[in-house]
Symmetry: C2
Subunit: 307 residues, 2 copies
């Protein structure tokens, strides 16, 4: 499977209150992802709390993940930063630590122009030889990659893919067609937004950048494989079993829910970085019900089993 | 004049390509602000590029500014950070370096809830004894303080003021009235958004948190004093002379324009932190015209004079 294709699993990054990463706990999550057979790991993505961690902790995280996965599952590393020089340093760090690819979100404080983001991406590709996926995540970065900008950046050597949000109008095939007409055939177009993954993959998206696969890789893979094979009926059946979890993601934000889910699954009691706050016990009860619903799927391993 | 009242001037922070602050160049800007008689300096605000600078550079900046101003103009320091513990550290640093007050923007990557921002502000007030101004800047932080949240936070010891964006509906008096009805009488409500400052002050806003006053303190003070005195005719005349500059601010973003303006004024050739890019020569020509228009005001000192 080519990098930036298929199921990419985005684990949270277990860390203490001062932002020190707990690499052993992380490696337990990575081991589950590897065993399930995900196509790649999206390390230090938005779910992996990259903007809240220092450069040294981010480097230590990549080193631990690469060692743990032993080359069996490719590692794509988020290298977003507010400053261009910092994103370049993070990209070099990731390459030196053995990453297979980069994910670059144009983090912003002052809103950025298309020309600024173009130069930013160019500078990061020039800093390393790793293939790079554009991270189009307007909710967190306040920057939207237009189809025109994606097409321009797809011409830059090293820019290999884009991670898209779900289309507001739900027209997955239409949007994919518009972008595909403007980029080289080798350029990969994938999606994040777990609750739209089935529809995106069925419409021909190349990849599912999946939050839930960071903790529940087996059912996520079941969904991905059904949709990639074009088996709409099976994909919708699995997607249906995910509905209670999707509704918690949409209500509370998948970032917060993932921390509670790790705890409910017995994978560790971590807290999100403050100011983000842990969600309360009422959501944990609903998480238990969401997992029971997923357990009705026939899967190679139990949802609840710790690694 | 009470802190968080009157004209607060927000200088840019001159810095090299790697984010090292040029304190001598900064002190030239501060000297202009002090001489003009602004009521406070808003150091390391959004215009001061705080999110793009390291903790050590931010501390060095506060130390240099406090020494330069010699207690003659109070210094309010921006201590925003993505992590609560970092904002606390920055607040302690600012207090130790001699700041008079704090400005706290709830920077975000993952969108924040009201409860999270409340706890974040509380934690920062508990870290120092300095009075704090809430920084309500949805464009850069993606968080909007509701009147209810402002009212709750106004009860927290140390929370003394709020810096508001211009009301979308232009109803300055209405919004001021709604918030004033919910907060203690001593709580200050000020505004940013230079092109709305005349109307805000005429409607009774306590403060103008001014970008332009960071480089052109004399005409900004002329505008502020006219509006504070309720002289609508004179305030509108001065505001009118600012119109060409306001229109560049709105078109290019005041952050980028300030760097070009510093150069045009002969105060130093600094560049914004990448990925932000300097604006081109066509805007510089229009800046010259905007300054000529301001020069038609009778002011104690020439607009163009270097310090």
């Amino acid at each position: 499977m080519t990098l930036f294709h298929g199921l990419s699993a985005f684990p949270l990054t277990p860390a203490g209150a001062a932002g020190q990463v707990q690499t052993e706990a992380l490696c337990l999550l990575l081991e589950r992802i590897r065993k399930a057979g995900a196509d790649s790991v999206g390390l230090l993505g938005s779910t992996g709390a990259y903007p809240y961690l220092s450069r040294s902790e981010r480097r230590r995280t990549v080193e631990a993940a690469v060692e743990s996965l032993g080359g069996q599952t490719p590692v794509v590393v988020g290298v977003g930063a507010l400053r261009t020089d910092e994103a370049q340093e993070l990209a070099r760090d990731a390459e030196e630590a053995g990453a297979d690819g980069l994910l670059l979100a144009p983090m912003s404080y002052q809103p950025l122009t298309d020309g600024e983001v173009y130069q930013h991406v160019l500078a990061v590709t020039e800093a390393t030889g790793l293939p790079l996926c554009l991270y189009n995540n307007p909710t967190t970065t306040r920057f939207t990659f237009s189809p025109n900008l994606i097409a321009e950046l797809a011409q830059v050597p090293g820019v290999a893919a884009v991670k898209m949000p779900l289309p507001a109008d739900g027209d997955y095939a239409g949007e994919l067609g518009r972008i595909r007409a403007m980029v080289p055939a080798s350029f990969a177009i994938g999606h994040s937004g777990d609750w739209g993954a089935a529809n995106a993959l069925l419409a021909g998206s190349n990849a599912w950048f999946s939050v839930v696969a960071g903790l529940l890789p087996a059912p996520a893979l079941r969904l991905a494989r059904a949709a990639q094979a074009g088996d709409a009926e099976d994909a919708r059946r699995v997607d249906d079993a995910f509905q209670p979890l999707w509704s918690l993601f949409r209500q509370w934000g998948s970032f917060r829910v993932m921390y509670a889910l790790a705890d409910v699954l017995g994978l560790g009691a971590f807290e999100p970085p403050r100011p983000l706050l842990p969600i309360g016990p009422e959501v944990r009860a609903r998480l238990g019900e969401a997992l029971d619903r997923l357990a009705t799927l026939s899967l190679p391993t139990s949802i609840h089993s710790a690694p």
